[in-house]
Amino acid sequence: MLSLVVYTLFIFLASAAAILRQEHMFQLNSYKPRVHLKRTFTVQLSWLLRPAVALLAVPGLIIGGRWRWLSAAIAVIALLLCMPPKNVKKPLVYTSRVKRLLVTSGIITAALCFLPLILCRGVSFLTAIIPLLSPLIVLLADLINRPIEKSINLGFINEARDMIASSPELTVIGVTGSFGKTSVKFILGKMLSAKYGTLITPESYNTTLGVVRTIREKMRATHEYFVCEMGARNRGDIKEICELVRPKHGVITAIGEQHLESFGSIEAIKDTKFELADSLPAGGKLFVNTDSPGALDRAQAKYPGFIGYGTLDGSVCRYFAHDITVSDAGSHFFLRTPDGELEMNTRLLGRHNVVNIAGAAAVALEMGVEPLGVSSAAARLEAVPHRLQLIKNSRGIVIDDAYNSNPAGARAALDVLAGFYGLRVLVTPGMVELGEKEDSENRALGEYAASRCDTAVLVGARHTQPIREGLLAAGFDENNIIVTEDLIAGMNAAGLRAGGGRAVYLLENDLPDNYL
């Protein structure tokens, strides 16, 4: 009998250790059950051998008597095998959600282990399988906890809503668009700070829960403006955020083809982004990027009185950026405003950044920030790392655009590269995550790049094949194409061609940090 109790205790501990490990993996898999199951049985399959060792205890339990001590020993071994390792790159973070999951998992595991011992000793041998069941137990616990998590989130949402409601002096400005919203949000935040206490949603927090967290953790009584970035995957997403924060003014930065699959059509994308416009109260201002045709035509059709900003057509925008020049020092342009011309200098590169700055400046000026405050904020802007970031190092000049995620941005980056003097080198592994259009977009990129660079370093022969085709089709000299599997080697080879002269490298798309 004692042997059975000892065995059960250790099988419980072994299961608990296995649960802890599964919990850790679940967190790394972003709490997505489908992803977790898939990875458990593919990438992480070999680990399952450890809890499987517990199965060796079954014969001893069935035979009974002294042999049960052998089973207990095997349970101890299983426990030791399942203990989490000491040095882990990304350890388990014990958030409140994790703690709740561990409690539920612990209860399920304890029930499964100890109930047979108490109620029906004969089936105790079945408990040997419990460590192996750990992935499923964690998912079951997640399922059970869902209503609790949902109501906790609802509590947070209500708290955030109350905080906004108790701050009638706070002016909320919503920023949305297929791209450019993060940049416009940052720049606008800096410009408004010249005069007002300003809160912005941090980098990636553009979902309802992200906005809720920003409000609950960062909002202060001293904030006068809140610039809220609003992201959308589906219709109604932006409307939901608007109901929460009640924006007074809104900015539509662009209508593009991002996430076309989940939206269905361009019209649906427009409907969704313009949910922000629909949520504005009377007297609220709608700012629209007139360089984006999709945004312009919807604004003109349904939202008279919108305030336009852009660089292409001065007749449709109140804030028009013109005479744009780019150099090693960054960009320089003039912004035409209703009160006169404002000269702007910035370290940022790229026409789209000029548009973003023009948009942020339009909003800031309309909110009463002095022109001098706006232009000096622009002059102090630092590029977001890996987004057309100008770096000067021993190689020469590197334009790091590794985080760019769309064809339009890639073309803008190539335009920037074209404007530099010296040996202009395009370095790219090609664009990814464009679905069906991937090959045709990469080919188009190659064609566009042909006249804008002198040397092309294509990283990854297979994936960059369409780019190569595009380059050649547009008349690019084949000898100037370097195909390589090693980024650094490729850049070195290109650098040699500069002879002692200057080289400018454009790093385009999805390149990992440690390559620089």
């Binding site: 701050s167 706070l170 700070s193 206490g197 202060r220 009584a221 102090r380």
Partner: protein
């Protein structure tokens, strides 16, 4: 959401009591639609108390009783805000008594008005109202202020700085030097005290020694300067910061003796502090003189780098009309609200403006970067093997 303002007063200063009056007078005048005000009393031992009757001026007759009913707190930096936590923690419940968005020092005198308290708030990373550390220190040191003002082209009386050690060894020589430079009569005062404490008037050598000895009981360093005969004193306050400031109305304080003394300022039922002292408001001077004084006040404010409200005290020669800056007060009694009222600026509006300026300064400071990427801490091997300092360490 209202902005929570911590109103700090008292402190280890000779003007402790005056500051209680200044603060609790202000306490009644904040815009309660915008601000929640938490009064925090600093005792003579620099302990902080809040809660209970700390905001009630009528309870300050019996301070020990007042403190018994209040909570002693410790200010702590908390994510850009200032948390006041209990000195004696409770076992159950929260020990955070209040969380302040901005600190408002309403303190007078050395140890509090001279940058010490301002530096404390700066270290705690909470925005605070009024002059920053440098301007506070300059405003408090009469001699240093003179140098800065003179450099900015603002008229000041020349002064002789005397320290206690030198004086004790060379009394006669010091007196001779002063007599030669300025002649009698002279004003002798501590270099860094306020509210006219320790000031003496000397018409002769004996009076010089008497005044110097008296002044040295309050400070280690004193100054001597020529006394303006046929003196009129005109004060003017300034509200703003380095981006822009506006002057108040001018006043002429009324004195009982040769110079405005502590009892002139606060005696005779001085319960209303500076605002209750006798004065001629507006000062009976010509428009031309008024304009000159007001623009000199703003110039002095800018030269020292003040923020919030400061009062600049002028000396005027009745006969020649010549004007000099006597001294600067970076936290003036009653915050000089009575000088702005004639111009239509309410005390409430003044206080709101001062708080906005404090928040603005903090916003500007947030834009700067105070850390510098360096590797000097990597690969340190300890200092036992011969101190090489950071530059000699192997990196």
């Amino acid at each position: 959401m209202k902005v929570t303002v911590g109103l700090f007063f008292g402190g280890r200063s000779v003007e402790h009591e005056v500051s209680v009056i200044t603060a609790l007078q202000a306490y009644e005048n904040f815009d309660r639609e915008k601000y929640d005000v938490v009064p925090v009393y600093i005792t003579h031992e620099n302990e902080f108390y809040t809660g209970g009757d700390i905001g009630d001026i009528t309870k300050y007759g019996d301070i020990p009783a007042l403190l018994k009913g209040a909570v002693q707190v410790i200010p702590v930096c908390s994510d850009g805000r200032l948390a006041l936590i209990r000195r004696n923690p409770k076992r159950f419940g929260s020990n955070v008594v209040a969380v302040l968005d901005v600190a408002f020092p309403a303190v007078h005198g050395t140890n509090v008005e001279d940058g010490a308290l301002q530096g404390f708030f700066r270290t705690l990373r909470v925005p605070f109202v009024g002059c920053d550390v440098m301007a506070s220190a300059l405003g408090m040191d009469k001699y240093a202020a003179k140098i800065i003002l003179r450099d900015a082209g603002i008229p000041v009386l020349p002064a002789l700085k005397i320290n206690i050690k030198h004086y004790s060894a060379h009394r006669e020589e010091v007196e001779r030097q002063a007599a030669e430079e300025f002649g009698y009569p002279m004003i002798i005062k501590p270099v860094d005290l306020g509210s006219s404490v320790g000031i003496g008037f000397a018409r002769s050598k004996e009076e010089f020694f008497a005044a110097a000895d008296e002044a040295f009981s309050f400070a280690q360093v004193i100054i001597a300067e020529r006394a303006v005969t046929n003196l009129r004193e005109i004060n003017c306050a300034v509200l703003g910061d380095s981006d822009g400031a506006s002057p108040s109305e001018c006043e002429e304080p009324v004195t009982a003796g040769d110079i405005l003394s502590y009892s002139d300022k606060y005696g005779a039922g001085g319960q209303k502090g500076m605002s209750g002292a006798s004065r001629l408001l507006p000062a009976p001077i010509s428009d031309e003189q008024r304009d000159k004084i007001r623009s000199l006040a703003v110039a002095a404010f800018m030269a020292i780098g003040c923020s919030g409200v400061a009062r600049i005290d002028f000396l005027m020669d009745k006969d020649t009309g010549e004007v000099w800056v006597n001294e600067l007060n970076t936290i003036p009694g009653s915050l000089s609200f009575y000088l702005f009222r004639p111009l239509g600026v309410s005390y409430t509006a003044m206080l709101s403006k001062m708080i906005e300026l404090a928040l603005k300064r903090e916003r500007m400071r947030d834009e700067l970067s105070f850390s510098f990427k360096t590797d000097i801490l990597k690969g340190q091997r300890g200092f036992k093997s011969g101190a090489k300092g950071a530059k000699g360490a192997k990196i």
